[in-house]
Amino acid sequence: MGSRVEILNEGGFRSDGRRQFELRDMTIDLSQRGIADGSALITHGLTQVLVSVFGPREAKMRSQTIHDRANINVEVSVAAFSTGERRKRSRGDKRILEIASTIKSTFEPVVQTNLYPRSQIDVFVQVLQQDGGVLQACINGTTLALINSGIPMLDFVCAVTGGVHSTSPMLDLTLLEENDIPNVTVAMMPKTGKIALVTMETRLHVDRFKEIFRLVSDAGKVIHGEMKSAVLSRSTSLVTAMGSGPRTRGGDLEERDVDDQMNNY
């Protein structure tokens, strides 16, 4: 009895020291990886996910092209060392296929696929570390990678998990909490407040659902703030890098004069 971890103690603290509505530490890394058109490395606490996006490009499988839209292909792979117990999951594992198809159906209405008929957008998700909120991290990572690759979307898609411990709602659950209490994952689009995804695999009383649903939707806006500032800082650094290179052609008349003067020396 004494060794059981408390989900929420009397002081209002959770098992990892957070408050009820506190989200985990989030880090976003948008630097380029390999030859991907866009990539994002996102961590929520101890959950770390790397998403790479390729496209829009010519489809590898002609049978899957759609005549008036781009086809979004999502592949998820989970590293064997991502959990405490090593589990080698094959690419065809049902759980993984389910996560992949959930991500695909979340982004299909958001990405402006009608601009790229008969082409393919590949999203490769690599889960590096798992501590609860894997779907949440995958969706947030996919949003950032799609933005990073320049694929037009209607809005950000921000996902958060929420759960209810007896009557107290909680946000952004760790693995310990996910296994213990009923939980729901909600992905919302912050500009309009529209919901792109609601998924729940546990049982939750209908009276509690309304409250937690509203809370999670609001939490999505907080995630949106973080994502927006990460994208902004990445864009700023890229623009600065573009601006600081030497100008070979054109430019202002004044600049040309300066260059001529330099050449005189």
């Binding site: 380029q32 990886r33 390999g34 030859i35 064997a80 080698k88 690419r91």
Partner: protein, 341 residues
């Protein structure tokens, strides 16, 4: 190896560059220069040992280049069922589809399998076997799973894989165990757990005391326990022996190291040589593979093995000094920071 598609003109341009004097490469390197290699250990806290290695990544944001993640995890297994007395090592390589976006999933599986076989056959060889992977002789042993994930490939993937494997194995800590023997208390039911050094039961006047000088009794250890739950353990034995590989790309008659993707497409023939440098012994060639299409004479191969050893030794020394630096950064400096807090 998946390669970019390049035109015949570009291929001949690259090949001509190698044969000219002085030899020219697209990024200005010499024939035997490596791109900058970045290494970090301890990247997967849930694993017993881990490392992330990249070759040719940009200095300021760490992007681009070949990137490989390696992690080791230890599992206990019964010797009777799957295990081996003294423990065993199993290596697996997974390629992220992001590293090879032009390959279909079947081709990716084939590539993964090729890399897995090369790595596993080399590292699970008895000459490299560490001696602290056993727990209870003939009963329980450690299974060491080495998982490599290829996140990006910008050429020279095998060298990256072997270096990352060596770094993760160097970083691996094996939890210390103590074997445990169950003794039934005389006349009562239930067991008393005692350590290997002797049982610590209550002194019962009626009980037969076993003399410490009695050496006839054979210890029948049936189970084990962790000495300290929070201690990561002792370092995996044989860390000096783990090998590294050198891929020699062969545009006949010369050879060069650390090819980029276009260079690999232009020069398909490679010799992969894996060297181990055990301390106070002469170096060993742990594995050798000829990859790609082309022919090689025995005389040329002998020379390549000799040349390769020189390059491998330099790489080995550089890798070792970085690993020691990483050890210091993670242990000593962390302790100093904690003491100063």
């Amino acid at each position: 190896m998946a390669s970019t598609s390049i035109s015949k003109a570009e291929k001949s341009y690259i090949q001509a560059g190698f044969l000219s004097s002085p030899p020219l490469r697209a990024d200005g390197r010499a024939l035997h220069d490596f791109r900058s290699v970045a290494l970090e250990t301890g990247v997967a806290p849930l694993a017993n040992g881990s490392a992330r290695l990249s070759i040719g990544a940009n200095a300021h944001d760490g992007g681009g280049g070949t990137e490989v993640l390696a992690a080791t995890k230890l599992e206990v297994e019964n010797v009777e069922e799957d295990g081996c007395d003294g423990g065993r090592i199993v290596c697996t390589v997974t390629c992220s589809p992001a590293a090879y976006p032009q390959l279909s999933s079947n081709a990716l599986d084939d590539l993964q399998y090729d890399m897995t076989v090369i790595l596993h056959q080399t590292l699970s060889h008895p000459s490299l076997h560490p001696n602290n992977l056993g727990i209870l002789p003939k009963k329980k042993s450690w299974l060491l799973n080495l998982d490599i994930v290829v996140l990006a490939d910008a050429g020279n993937i095998y060298d990256a894989i072997f270096m990352a494997a060596r770094a993760a194995l160097w970083d691996t800590k094996v939890p210390k165990t103590r074997s445990v023997e169950y003794k039934v208390r005389k006349g009562n039911s239930g067991g008393v757990v005692g350590g290997k050094t002797g049982s610590s039961g209550d002194m019962d006047v009626d009980e037969e005391t076993t003399s410490g000088f009695d050496t006839r009794q054979i210890q029948q250890a049936t189970d084990f326990e962790l000495t300290d739950y929070w201690d990561e353990g002792e370092v995996l034995d044989g860390r000096e022996r783990w090998p590294i590989s050198i891929t020699l790309n062969l545009p006949p008659p010369t050879h060069f190291l650390d090819a980029t993707l276009p260079e690999e497409s232009a020069v398909p023939l490679k010799a992969l040589l894996v060297y181990s440098f055990p301390p106070s012994e002469s170096p060993n060639v742990q594995a050798m593979r000829i990859l790609g299409s082309g022919e090689l004479t025995v005389v040329l191969l002998k020379d390549l093995v000799k040349e390769g050893e020189k390059y491998a030794r330099e790489l080995f020394i550089a890798l070792n000094s970085k690993l020691k630096e990483e050890d210091i950064r993670r242990n000593q400096k962390a302790r100093e920071r904690f003491a100063r807090r």
